[in-house]
Amino acid sequence: MNILELKNIKKSFGDLEVLKDVSLSVRKGEVIAIIGPSGSGKSTLLRCATLLERVDRGEINYLGEAVTECVGDKTVYASKKQLQKIKGYFGLVFQNFNLFPHYTVLKNVIDAPISVQKRKKDDVIKEAAALLEKMGLSGKENNYPHQLSGGQQQRVSIVRALALNPQILFFDEPTSALDPELTGEVLKVIRSLAEENMTMVIVTHEMQFAREVADTVYFMNDGFIVESGTPEEVFDHPKTERMKHFLERYNG
């Protein structure tokens, strides 16, 4: 079964049509990279998938459970309760981390599992400690976000998302806010998650990384997915002029 299915998604901001007709599905264990020029709608797509933004039209479902359904020519969202449940299926890592500055690293990680999922504090702390260690963050439990480097903060935010045991993890340009010398440590962490078959959708401008880590690459342009396929297909044998043009700009 697919973890996520997006069908014919349309989204406008006022008169600006940002997503014109986007369909995409994510298999369990699949790593998807979404690439494309600035303003093509990549972030908007992730925000629609993570319920931060409402679509105008189209179907969204997680594990076969509907977020939106098309009834006649209307698109209706599921009940608040159902949406709350579905929010437990995914996690999102933001470009600028959005850690909670008044919580320690540990509290950032354990608070949602405890106060949202109502899990036992001891279990959560144990799991969190293991995750932090795996991400090279042991010893930082009692630091506050402002005491960490950008790379460390982003790794904490990845741990925070993982602590809720999501079925799928979204990343919106997870390294764009980092100094170049810090991107490596974050990409490494994402690579290690890919090796453990974590299902992921990653919006990125790091082409080399997308090629290495993704099973499927989607190229977005102007509100459409213009091309998709394996990294070899998309990067080495692009079919569309748009894609060729985009790659030239990156390589040249």
Binding site: L52, N98, P101, H102, S115, V116, R160
Partner: protein, 216 residues
């Protein structure tokens, strides 16, 4: 009049001033939060009503507001005023006025929070209430503390306005004594008291700010 007698009378006035001060904070700090939510409400009529309330409270003299609260019930409804109502009227007037100022401080603090904090909380599954109390409010409090301090310092001095409707707080007492003695000693002593109270306010608020220095 002996110096000690003067001090004793001033201190009884000081107690009344302190009462006004603390009761106003006790009422206006929470009421301000409710007013702020009204001001930010998506329900337009409520929002406009609260906006009007705030603009009147900030746009007219507190002294006038105290007079309206005190004499209003008589002139508007013909209700006979008892002497104990004086003090109540002062407290009501102060709370209504200060709630408006605090509301604007809360609102600016809440609106200055980055959207990212709300979105992170939303994706993690926090409810609206959890998000506000656990994530947003602690950060807002830290950010608005300096503005709150300013307002509280003004409140210390504003308590003297209670003399308008004849509540015997410190300033009223000082004026009476000073007139009786034909000397400024009592007024200067009262000035020192106000100044000292504000030193304490600044110190205490400084402690709060320090306490919240652990995050940025």
């Amino acid at each position: 009049m002996a110096f000690e007698v003067m001090l004793r009378e001033l201190s009884s006035g000081l107690l009344v001033s302190l009462e006004i001060f603390f009761l106003t904070l006790l009422g206006a700090l929470p009421l301000g939060m409710i007013v702020a939510f009204g001001r930010m409400s998506k329900f337009k009529p409520l929002q406009l009503l609260v906006k009007l309330y705030i603009s009147i409270m900030r746009g007219t003299p507190l002294m006038l507001q105290l007079l309206v609260v005190y004499f209003g019930p008589y002139y508007i409804f013909g209700i006979r005023l008892t002497s104990s109502y004086r003090f109540i009227a002062v407290i009501i007037g102060f709370i209504l006025n200060y709630a408006a100022y605090f509301a604007e401080i809360y609102r600016s603090g809440i609106e200055a929070m980055s959207k990212g904090q709300y979105e992170a909380a939303d994706v993690l599954g926090y409810s609206k209430t959890q998000t506000f109390f656990k994530i947003i409010l602690p950060q807002v409090i830290k950010n608005i503390l300096p503005s709150i301090t300013n307002e509280v310092i003004t409140l210390v001095k504003d308590t003297s306005l209670a003399y308008t409707i004849g509540v015997a707080e410190m300033f009223t007492q000082a004026k009476i004594i000073s007139a009786a003695q034909s000397s400024m000693t009592a007024l200067i002593a009262a000035g020192i008291f106000y100044y000292f109270m504000n030193l304490v306010v600044a110190y205490v608020m400084g402690l709060f700010e320090k306490k919240l220095n652990y995050f940025k």
